[in-house]
């Protein structure tokens, strides 16, 4: 029972988030498709959360810590550069007269 509950909790979250993503992305103006790609790319770096867990666990093996380290570095690069580049792009979008 608890297992089925657990799995369906996660499936509910997935289904709702997918519907929501669909509604949100459909409304993004084509003008902003490039910044959108780079923003979602930055947001995807949230996998850093998993990388931190793997690296910081008290019983992490050296192999695990090494792989985790690499993962944290990679995710951080994506997050930092992704957000900054998105903002750099968006700063350039101006209306006439702004």
């Amino acid at each position: 029972m608890s297992n089925a509950q657990d799995a369906t909790n996660l499936l509910f979250v997935f289904m709702l988030a997918a519907f929501l993503g669909f509604q949100l992305i459909k409304r993004v103006s084509p003008l902003l498709h490039s910044p959108l790609m780079s923003l979602t790319n930055a947001i995807a770096a949230v996998v850093i959360v998993g990388a931190i867990m793997v690296t910081g666990e008290h019983d992490a093996t050296p192999v695990a810590r090494t792989l985790g380290f690499v993962a944290v570095v990679a995710a951080t690069i994506n997050a930092v550069s992704g957000f900054l580049i998105t903002d750099r792009m968006l700063k350039m979008f101006r209306r006439k007269g702004d």
Binding site: L10, V13, F14, A17, G21, L24, I25, K26, V28, S29, P30, L31, L32, H33, S34, P35, M37, L39, T40, N41, A42, I43, A44, V46, V47, I48, V49, G50, A51, I52, M53, V54, T55, G56, E57, V63, A64, R65, L67, G68, F69, V70, A71, V72, V73, A74, A75, T76, I77, N78, V80, S81, G82, F83, I85, D87, R88, M89, F93, R94
Partner: protein, 468 residues
Amino acid sequence: MTVLQSSNAVLVQAAYLVASGLFVLALMWMSSPKTARRGVRAGELGMLIAVCGTLLHSGVVQYDLIFVAILLGTLIGVPMAFLMPMTAIPQRTAISHAFGAMAVGLIGAVEYGKLAPTQGAGSFTVWALMFEILLGLLTCTASVVAFAKLQEIMPTRPIMFKGQQVLNLAVFLGALACAGVMIASPANTTPFPFFVALALVFGVLLVLPIGGADMPTVIALLNSYAGLAASAMGFALGNKLLIVVGALDGTSGFILAMVMCKAMNRSFTNVLFGGFGQAAPAGSGGGEERAHRSYTAEEAAPMLEMASSVVIVPGYGMAVSQAQHRVAELYEHLEECGVEVKFAIHPVAGRMPGHMNVLLAEADVPYDKLVELEDINPELPQTDVVLVIGANDTVNPAARDDPSSAIAGMPIIEADRAKQVMIVKRSMNAGFAGIDNPIYYKDNAGMLFGDAKKVAEHLVKELQELAA
């Protein structure tokens, strides 16, 4: 201790809830240029909260490596963000997908090593882990190949060989078989290295037969895969934040890929397996030598100045020659002369969705001057001059008129309907689709041969002289 741990768990969960909400808001605010930067702030805040929340997690006790890694990542990421030229955005997206997907794959591998011995046959967690590792690794190598093709480290034409599809299928099924064995008996880790190798190889095989100019669609699809991999990680770890972000990302990449396919009037299958662009555009201008007119900048400038309305159609050529700043100057000069200037943006002009918008915004062209295909087409018959700068397929009337054309049915910017068309490009060669473009031979059309940047510079100089 238990109370401390449980209040701790509440805090972590609350952080993840808030972070998820912020990521949703980030995408919501991306819908308009007025709120988009607020969206970036929301995303940054969400990331910060997610990281801080995780650091508070009672399972995380060794902080040294983590801080070093975050510092290192920041030190690499910040200069990367500031030094990256806007024209390299497609490549950057590809390589950062590779990084991200690699992280997902590595975490999956570590989790598998730790959890596998404790799981029963057919456990939900192992299913999720296999999915995560497969998608993560194949996205990683596929993104590397996509990057290499975009950066032209690798040949951009589709690489096809006999038995390719059979090989691809065999590799894919092999990877699935390994996963199946590990799901059936999680304690048996023997197939794991094979699984990893097959997943990595499959990623490469997947992208080889796809031409360089189809890479934007592929990148959007890989974005979608990376999202699904993150969701799978969320399922494996029971982490809802990861599931939400993965689903948002997955749909985003999928929708962008769909938009591109629609704008090219092609199907997913055609993009992924079609080997489009395979027949090298072997000087398609050579064939029958139909007559075309050609202008010099000296001739063209007065025609532009005397027009009352000009529409500029930028394309991949403007990006390649980095001509956007010169084109923006041209736009300003024309506006000063009292000419009404607009830009017509085709959804797949350039090499990624929204490519032209970013480049022109970089050159300070106001975004209300950038008009979408459906909105500009009805105005073109009343337009005096259309100036095509390094665009080709996106203005090819064959797509509209010739049902046997390779790009038949692709929506185009109907530049040929304007009173005058001038086309800036270096030769009579074909564009990405490798087919001839009848617009060059129309009575109202004339070529302006040369590198886009040089020609734009030249036009500006002429306009200045005319004004003086």
